[in-house]
């Protein structure tokens, strides 16, 4: 192939038998072999499983039994997602030898959709902390410049998709762990509404803030993956039982009249973004307006309010989830995660419940603010990716992020590439919809991507490799 395909384009070629899943998988494995020594997107490459999946998908297609657009598509699973018979380490010494006996629901659903499992992707330890160099595996590197950070915690999935090692993958998002890596790696990632995608079999970070979702090169690809992932699951007590729409049905129908509120104060006052990121936001707003969207301004409580609420909940739920190991094996965690787990001791029970009461107020505030809107828009990250060795230790007093508000609210939120900053690395915007209105978010994101040229550009290391293949 002369370029790295998207899921949608590969699916069309596979359906018309112009491309076989085996060829596609071999191309991806070749890129893994060539690039992953530098990127560290994978903790484990499951080559035998991938080829077996690809052959099975190919056979199904030849027999007229395709499982749909994901049949034969190479994907990766963040290594906090349980996989039956395949090590699932959570990128941690603690679970170095852990081999689950059952698949997580999301892994099971993607397998049933006919995907090809390429392997388990790097994460921040237990989806927490940051880029750690004191773990059994190195942190993933940003394919746009390998001296730079991917963001996290779905770091390997983000890097792997941007570099074309996989066409899609699973991310998880407790305060921005799908949208952060999507933003800094220049791909698309959607955190669905809380409860839409089952958390069963996925290691918790903070039970009531955890979301599972797709990451891919385009919004259209995310829609195809979400179709396979969404739906009720008796194994997840927070699973929602909403009807599942056709997420691709509205793609390409335009966004004329769509009402988008821009939360200017989030990224211009509460946490001022870099010039390059601001230019990307401004240009994106102009593009959406040209496409027919009605743009207005919306005001919410300052970011610090959302950050405080989400952080207190996150610290406490994480400390509870990992309490046993924190008491008995604290030194086996990375220094960053040790610090986070210890912080749980500083939050009282009353603090936690006040945060959960505040959460109800903030969610009601967002609902009221969006009453006359379809979407809201803000930044996804404050800057381009920083250098990986300059990422500070997590600082509880740091400026608040743009993604946590929508974990607090549980609303669907998506990061998509809105250009490139001064350093040549991607910048991104974030689109947020109402609960269970993922189809609207995806429609707007798809329209934006198709009206811009940012999906035509891949990291140089991948483009050079594909040209040589």
């Amino acid at each position: 192939m002369t370029s790295i395909p998207t899921i949608a384009s590969a699916a069309k070629l596979i359906a018309t038998k112009q491309l076989s899943p085996v060829e596609l998988t071999r191309d991806c494995l070749d890129r893994v072999r060539a690039l992953d020594g530098e990127l560290h997107a994978f903790i484990l490459v499951t080559e035998e499983r991938a080829m077996a999946d690809a052959r099975a998908a190919g056979a199904a297609i030849m027999a007229g039994r395709s499982t749909g657009p994901l049949c034969g598509i190479p994907i990766g699973l963040k290594d906090i997602v349980d996989t039956k018979g395949i090590p699932t380490t959570c990128h941690s010494k603690i679970l170095h030898d852990n081999v689950p006996t059952a698949d997580a629901t999301c892994a099971e659903k993607l397998a049933a959709a006919g995907t090809v499992l390429m392997g388990k992707t790097a994460t921040h330890e237990f989806a927490d902390g940051g880029p750690s160099f004191d773990l059994p595996w190195p942190p993933a590197r940003n394919p746009w410049n390998t001296a730079h950070f991917t963001a996290g915690s779905s770091s390997g999935t983000g890097a792997g998709i941007a570099a074309g090692l996989i066409l899609g993958g699973i991310g998880t998002d407790t305060g921005g762990s799908i949208r952060g890596p999507a933003a800094l790696c220049g791909i698309a990632g959607i955190k669905p509404t809380y409860g839409l995608v089952s958390r069963a079999g996925v290691a918790p970070a903070a039970f009531t803030l955890d979301h599972i979702g797709p990451m891919a090169w385009t919004a259209e690809d995310c829609a195809l993956m979400l179709q396979a992932l969404a739906g009720p699951d008796a194994r997840d007590p927070a699973s929602a039982s909403q009807p599942i729409p056709d997420y691709t049905a509205q793609l390409g129908t335009g966004i004329k009249g769509l009402r988008i509120g821009v939360i200017h104060h989030f990224h211009e006052v509460d946490h001022k973004v870099s010039d390059g990121t601001q230019r990307g936001i401004d240009a994106a707003i102009a593009t959406l307006r040209e496409l027919g969207a009605e743009i207005s301004e919306v005001t919410l409580s300052p970011l610090a309010e959302w950050h405080a609420c989400g952080t207190l909940i996150s610290l406490t739920e994480r400390a509870a989830a990992y309490d046993e190991w924190a008491r008995t094996r604290l030194a086996d965690f990375s220094a960053r995660v040790q610090q986070r787990l210890l912080m749980g001791a500083l939050v009282s029970g009353v603090d936690y419940v006040q945060a959960v009461r505040r959460r109800r107020e903030l969610r009601a505030e967002l609902k009221a603010a969006m009453a006359g809107l379809d979407l809201v828009l803000t930044a996804a990250q404050p800057t381009e990716a920083p250098k990986i060795d300059e990422v500070p230790d997590w600082d509880v007093g740091q400026k608040p992020g743009f993604t946590m508000p929508f974990n607090v609210a549980g609303y669907p939120a998506m990061s998509l590439c809105s250009g490139f900053g001064e350093g040549g690395l991607p910048v991104a915007i974030q689109l947020v919809g109402k609960p269970f209105q993922e189809a609207t978010v995806l429609r707007a994101a798809d329209a934006f991507e198709k009206a811009t040229e940012f999906r035509d550009r891949r990291p140089a290391l991948s483009s050079a490799l594909v040209a040589a293949q």
């Binding site: 809380y194 039970f207 009531t208 008796a234 007590p237 927070a238 699973s239 929602a240 610090a304 309010e305 950050h307 405080a308 609420c309 952080t311 207190l312 610290l315 400390a319 309490d323 924190a326 008491r327 604290l330 040790q338 610090q339 787990l341 210890l342 912080m343 749980g344 001791a345 500083l346 939050v347 009282s348 603090d351 419940v353 006040q354 945060a355 959960v356 009461r357 505040r358 959460r359 109800r360 107020e361 969610r363 509880v396 007093g397």
Partner: protein
């Protein structure tokens, strides 16, 4: 900003069953004012009847 003295930190850590290093203890003391500030932010005059957010519904197993 409120500060965390050693005796209070000892109590919190003993209650949690955690055994940090001295460097980690220093980190916790440095972080405490920020945690206290966040706790203050979520403490609003909302009265006793204000409910927390409801995260979970009833699963099938609860209704069986």
């Amino acid at each position: 900003m409120p500060e965390l003295d050693d005796a209070t930190l000892d109590l919190l850590l003993a209650r949690s069953g955690l055994s940090p290093t001295q460097e980690q203890r220093d980190g916790l003391k440095a972080a405490y004012p920020h945690v206290a500030a966040m706790a203050e932010r979520v403490r609003k005059p909302r009265g006793r009847m204000a409910e927390p957010v409801l995260t979970y519904g009833f699963a099938e197993e609860d209704l069986a």
